[in-house]
Every structure is written in C-alpha cells, then in structure tokens.
C-alpha cells in the first residue's frame, strides 16, 4: 500500500469510527484484558450474549483492553444510538441483566453500577468517566487507546491517527527522527532512564550490514503489568513505535521478547502483525519507501534476569540467559554481534505520539530532567488499584491518595521499582516521581511498579520476599550475587523468625554493599536495595523482631500465634472444616481447641470465623 492508499483507508476508518455513535445498532464494550478476564469478564460477556439472544435484541459486542481502573472490573460500556458510551463498573454476570434491561427495555440510563460516560461534556446527570477521581489527575498519552478501541481492529487504530507518526518519519531523515526524540527528552521507560536518542545514535553510527531492534516486553518485575496492559489494549501503538525506532536506527529486523506468561498479549501482537502485513506496513519497502523491516516474536521462558539487555540477547540466541560484561554495549555489538537496540515496550509505545505531536508538546509534560509521562501499576493495599499514567514530577502523595484513594489501614510504605527498587516511608510522600529524586532516596523509577503497603504488612517480610525473589532469579554468574543474596535471605529469615541478633543487621548492611559493588549486571547490583532501604527507613520494625521477638504487623509466621477465645466461640465447627491440617477440634456447641503444633497459620479458620455470621469472631492472631 502506498501512503495515499493508507490515507484513504484511514479516512474510511475514521468515518466508520464516527458512525459508531450514530449507529442504529448499539455497541457493548467489555473490558477483556487479562485483568478483566480474571475478574470474570468472560462470564459477563456470556451473560450479555444470552440476554441479547433471549430478547432477540441486536447489538455489537466488542472486547477491549484494560482502561486502567482494574478495581472497577469487570467493566462494561454501553453505547446506544445517538448517545455517548456509558461505562458500568463491577459488572458480574448477574449484574448484566439489570443494566441492559434499563437500556433496551425501559429506554433509560440505568444508575445501577454506573461509572461514567465517555463524552466531552455533562450528559443527563451522568458524570464523565475520565472525571472519576482515579482518572482525573492522569495524562493519558501511551494509554490513550487502551480500553477504548478494539485492539483487534486495525481500522480503529487508524481512525485515531494510527501510523501517522510512522508516516511522518518516512518524510524525515533518520537524524531528524533522532533529533526529535532528543528534544522530547524521552528516557528509557524500562527503569534505568538512559536517553533513548543517545542509544539510537550510537547504534546508527556503527558500520554494519545489519542492525537489530528488540522490544523488551519481558516484564518480569513481580507486581508490574504496564507492558501487558499496553500490548493487550493497543498492540499497534507498540508496533508503530517499533517501525519508528527501526527506521531511526536503520534496522532490518525487529524482535519482540515477551513473557510466555502473557498469552493474550502474544495473541494480540500476532493478529496485529498480520494486519500490518496485509496493508504493507511490515516487510519489504514499507508504504513504497526504501525502508524494509520485519518483526518476529520470541517468547521468554521464565527468567527474570532476561530483562537485562545482554541476558535477553543470550536468550534469543538460544543460550542460558546470563548477562555478560559491557562494553561492548549492545548498541555496538549485540545480537549475533551486530549493533542492537533494546527498547522497553512503553518507550516504543510513546514514540508515535512524540513524532505525531512534536517533541515540544511531549517535553511540555514532566520536569526539567524527566520529561513526559510514565505509566505505573498502582497496586497493593491502596483502595483504587490499576494502571495509571501521570506526568513525571507528580508527587507520591498525589499518586497514592488522589489517584489511589489512600489505604484502609494507616499507610506504611511504597515500593517503587520492584526487586531492584526501594521501600520509601511516609516522609517521602511529597517526593516528586522522577528518575533523580527516586534514585536519591535509594529507590529507582524502575519499569513502573508501585506497591503500596499499610500497617498490616511487615516490612521485614517484604524485604525477605524481594531478596528471596532475586536470590532465586540470580543467574549464578557472579559470586557476590549468587552467594551474597542467599546469605542475605538467611539473615532476613532469622530476623523474621525472631532468631537474629543486632550483629545480623550490620552484617546484612555490609553484605548488601558487597553484593551491590561486586555484581556485573543490574539484577545483582540492585538486589540489595529493598533490604537496604527498609533497614534505613524502618529500622524500628527490624528491632522489634530482633529485640522483642515480635512482628508489629502480625505477619511473620514464626512470631505469631493463632488462638481461640473460648468465651466468644459458638462451637459452630466451621473452622474445624476449614482447617486443612486438622489443627482445630472440639465437639459442636462447645469452644474449640486449636493445636498450635499442627497449625500452619494459613488464616482459613480466622477468615471463616470472621465472615461467617454464626461464628463468633473468636479466633485471634497475635504476635
């Protein structure tokens, strides 16, 4: 397809998109990203289908990606002829009928589970969806299409200016593209924040017959899902970004290295790539230009360290994913020894917007050194969880309280940057989120995981969790990382078991510094961060474990006991049934006995006793 032909297709796509609002056939959108499906979106969709066929109503059902506020899932939007799209939240299968009944049978806008509408202005007393407290402070650039368009429909992407950025690139020289990205201030969104343009320029300047571009979608950071959501909700944005980056660095081949744990995202990518091929956006002489580029998907096989550039390359080459020394940097000698650029999925997804709207527009967001917006997965003990996108420089307080709605129990800490990041305490809440400030505080921006914890989470247990993770994922190449992380885990286990002494805390700090300094790659050199920051900012909690043998958050298994309060126990035997180890016994209607030697502290009895009305809330967990 030539540029004129794609413009014509875009014009038609635009008309089709605009016609949806006036369409005589209603549209029903279901948030069917992995998160939506986990919340039951498939059942919701089935209930919609059943309702429509039972009443013989006609409507188009469109599964879309995740729009961000996962805590509202499953989400269902209804678009009636001539009306804006209206979103309903937490729609389980049973809630479908009351909503659709209102629209289809009563001709009204049901208030049941109403979230908001997608129009520009006030509509019939319905609030705007994007005015919801979680969404209002956000600036959606990368996520602009997620949850809104049908990710399986190229036309909907085209209708929203899709591939315009890439087309603009074709009229520019590679230097101009690099320069635009330079002026935009875009830095790598994978975590380290290296200026994207500089990496590109280095790669382009190498003499080589082949150069490669790799999209790093090996999102191994536990607690983060930005890349998954972006690919599931708007695969073409990432693919367009790959075309732009490929053009800038002069690549002939691109790879998407994506976790095998993301089957839906892989499916979406494959479909989107087939659509690109059909219209000539992939392959030889793209859109009639001299630029030829093809993309292959490589599924990761489950190794966190493969997010590291050189390990990722080793993995694509069919080897164990072990990092090597740099230099040479991959931009000079990477995959098969050729110059290779590895960009994070979000970095790539941002590019079309920068090229389309201009560097200055993008640089208008953010701070002096950290320009633009960044997506975060806001999760943990925060009230409103989900995927967000905010301008850099926003404070942690704004993100956690204004967007996330705060925590139920008192706020304790926020963990940024996953296993490589740090745990920040309340005193950092007014810290602006940018690369420099987070690094200064001992955390990192990372790929965008923000895990909020409250008074109910033990900070030592959290440090142990991250150390256990990195210890397992250490590739084993560097001794300080392989052995050091293991010893750090052992010390943290001793602390959690109440068996550590004060010298252990000093050892932990010293060992942490050794691991940091003695490891080759970012996994090892950042692995001690969670332990070191928690030790620094939450020392009293460590001391409670060491000195008082007590876990203030009542979390650490070996420091808590489960007990039945005889005066409260109604003897209902619910807990006897719930206990998987037979630790609770006692005849009906008499206070039960809990045998601590059999108890594995799994909370089953505690929960059943608390939530079942006839039980007496008679089980306590104490430290």
């Amino acid at each position: 397809m030539k540029p004129a032909a794609i413009e014509e297709r875009r014009r038609q796509a635009q008309a089709k998109w605009d016609a949806i609002r006036e369409s005589p056939v209603p549209y029903i959108y279901i948030g069917a990203g992995s998160c939506g499906l986990a919340a039951g979106a498939a059942d919701t969709q089935q209930a919609v289908e059943e309702y429509l066929s039972r009443h013989q109503f006609e409507a188009r059902i469109v599964p879309v990606g995740c729009i961000g506020p996962c805590y509202l899932e499953p989400l269902m939007d209804v678009q009636m002829p001539g009306r804006p799209r209206i979103s309903y939240s937490n729609i389980a299968a049973k809630d479908v009928e009351p909503v659709l009944q209102g629209f289809f049978e009563k001709g009204e806008i049901p208030k049941y589970h109403l979230a908001g509408h997608f129009g520009e202005s006030e509509f019939d007393g319905v609030p705007r969806f994007f005015d919801l407290p979680m969404l209002k402070p956000q600036v959606r650039i990368v996520l602009r299409n997620c949850g809104i368009i049908d990710p399986d429909d190229l036309d909907q992407y085209l209708a929203r200016d899709g591939y315009r950025g890439f087309e603009k690139c074709l009229t520019m020289s590679w230097q101009e593209v690099v320069d635009t990205v330079k002026r935009s201030g875009l830095r790598g969104r994978g975590g380290a924040g290296f200026p994207t343009w500089r990496k590109w320029a280095t790669c382009r300047e190498q003499q080589s017959d082949e150069r490669y571009l790799i999209c790093n979608a090996d999102e191994g950071d536990p607690g983060a899902f930005m890349n998954r959501s972006l690919i599931e909700g708007d695969p073409h944005a990432v693919l367009e970004g790959m075309l732009i980056a490929g053009y800038a660095i002069g690549a002939t081949h691109g790879y998407i290295y994506i976790r095998a744990e993301y089957p839906l995202a892989i499916k979406r990518l494959k479909k989107a790539m087939a659509q690109m091929r059909e219209v000539g956006l992939l392959g030889e002489k793209i859109l009639g230009s001299d630029f030829s580029f093809d993309i292959k998907i490589k599924e990761g096989a489950g190794a966190f360290v493969c997010g590291e550039e050189t390990a990722l390359i080793a993995s694509i080459e069919g080897k164990r994913g072990m990092p090597r020394t740099r230099p040479p940097f991959p931009a000079v000698a990477g995959l098969r020894g050729k110059p290779t650029i590895i960009n994070n999925t979000e970095t790539l997804g941002t590019l079309p917007n920068i090229i389309r709207n201009g560097a200055e527009w993008y640089a208008g967001y953010g701070t002096e050194t950290s320009k633009g917006t960044k997506t975060f997965s806001l999760v943990g003990k925060v009230r409103r969880t989900g995927l967000i996108e905010v301008p850099l420089g926003m404070t942690l307080r704004q993100v956690i309280y204004d967007i996330g709605g705060g925590t139920q129990k008192p706020f304790k800490a926020v963990q940024s940057g996953g296993p490589s990041g740090g745990c920040l305490s309340e005193e950092f809440l007014d810290l602006p989120i940018d690369y420099e400030h987070l690094a200064e505080a001992g955390a990192i921006m990372g790929s965008g995981g923000l895990i909020v914890v409250d008074a109910g989470t033990c900070i030592v247990d959290m440090a142990k969790y991250f150390m256990t993770f990195t210890q397992r994922e250490s590739c084993g190449k560097c001794v300080p990382c392989r052995v050091g992380t293991r010893h750090m885990v052992e010390i943290l286990e001793r602390v959690c078991d109440g068996k550590a002494d004060f010298s252990d805390l000093d050892k932990l700090e010293k060992l942490g510094r050794t691991v940091k300094n003695g490891s080759l790659c970012a996994l090892g050199s950042s692995a001690p961060n969670p332990a070191l920051t928690t030790l620094k900012y939450f020392r009293p909690e460590f001391i409670a474990h060491v000195k008082d043998h007590r876990c203030p958050a009542v979390t650490c298994k070996n420091l808590v006991v489960y007990r039945v309060i005889p005066s409260k126990c109604t003897g209902c035997q619910r807990c006897v049934k719930a206990c998987p180890t037979g630790a609770i016994s006692g005849p009906r209607s008499e206070p039960h006995n809990l045998d601590p030697t059999k108890c594995i502290k799994c909370r089953s009895c505690y929960e059943v006793c608390r939530f079942d009305a006839i039980a007496g809330d008679a089980i306590v967990i104490e430290s």
Binding site: A39, G220, P222, G223, E261, A303, S377, T385, G449, I600
Partner: protein, 159 residues
Amino acid sequence: MISRDDISAIRHEFRGEREDLIPVLQRLQEQDGYLRPDAIRSISRWLKISENEIFGVATFYAQFRFHPPGEHHIKICLGTACHVRGGQEILAMTQARLNVKPGETTADGKYDLERVACLGCCALAPVVAFDDKFHSQMSVLKVQRLLEEGRSDQATDSR
C-alpha cells in the same frame, strides 16, 4: 503407534539453527506437556547441540518441566501484590489440602501445584490460576471452595 521420540512435526516448523533451541523446547513442551528425555536426544542430534547443553539451557528457565504434568494445573501467584495481599497463606493452605509442595503433582496425578512469580493481574491480587482460568481477589476460603468444586467436578466426571 507413533514412536515416542517423534519430533518430526516440530522439525518442519524450524530452520534447525542454534537460535531455534528455546522455541523448539517450548513447542515440544506444548506438544507433550513436558520435555521427554528421548525427544531431547532427538533434538540434540538434529540441532547438533549436546544433550548436556540442552539440559543446561532448559533448566535455566522456569518454564520447562521435566516430569509428566498432572491433569489440572494450579498456579498460585506470588508476585509482590499477591504476596502482600495473602498469597503466602493461600499457598500454605493449598499445599496442606493437596498434600504437595510447589513443583509437585498430587499422588493421584490430578493436580500440579506451582508457585509463579507474577501473572500480571496485580491490581486484582491475590490471583490463582486453575488450568488457564485466572481467579482474582482470592482468599484462602475462596480457594478452598474452588478446590472442593474441582473435586466434585471429578466426581461427576467419573460417574
């Protein structure tokens, strides 16, 4: 009967280069449910990579299994969000109920139990996957119910 080391179906899909090793192993596991030692032998001859090296690569990655899988697959997510929202307790309870450790299969061959690092549904933690279906916002009690339902499904099946 097809010989058990038959990898001919897979051979056609690849060029037979070193870089194909991991995708080949992934296809093999998709086909058989795990990496059969005899299939690895065939792959070794085909790709001209020693069996030792293939095992070296395969054991490096968490995805590969070396034992036949159980009938159903239970994955308990222990990503950070799942961890702080009670994933540990769910794992402890499930281990006790099924009498297996992560990575093992129940004695009756019905269930595999696996702890996974992150399934990417962190906003709806804790998450548990039964076969390919993800269940979100789980609790020990909800998982107990799922396990019971699984048992009763089997009871219906066998009737």
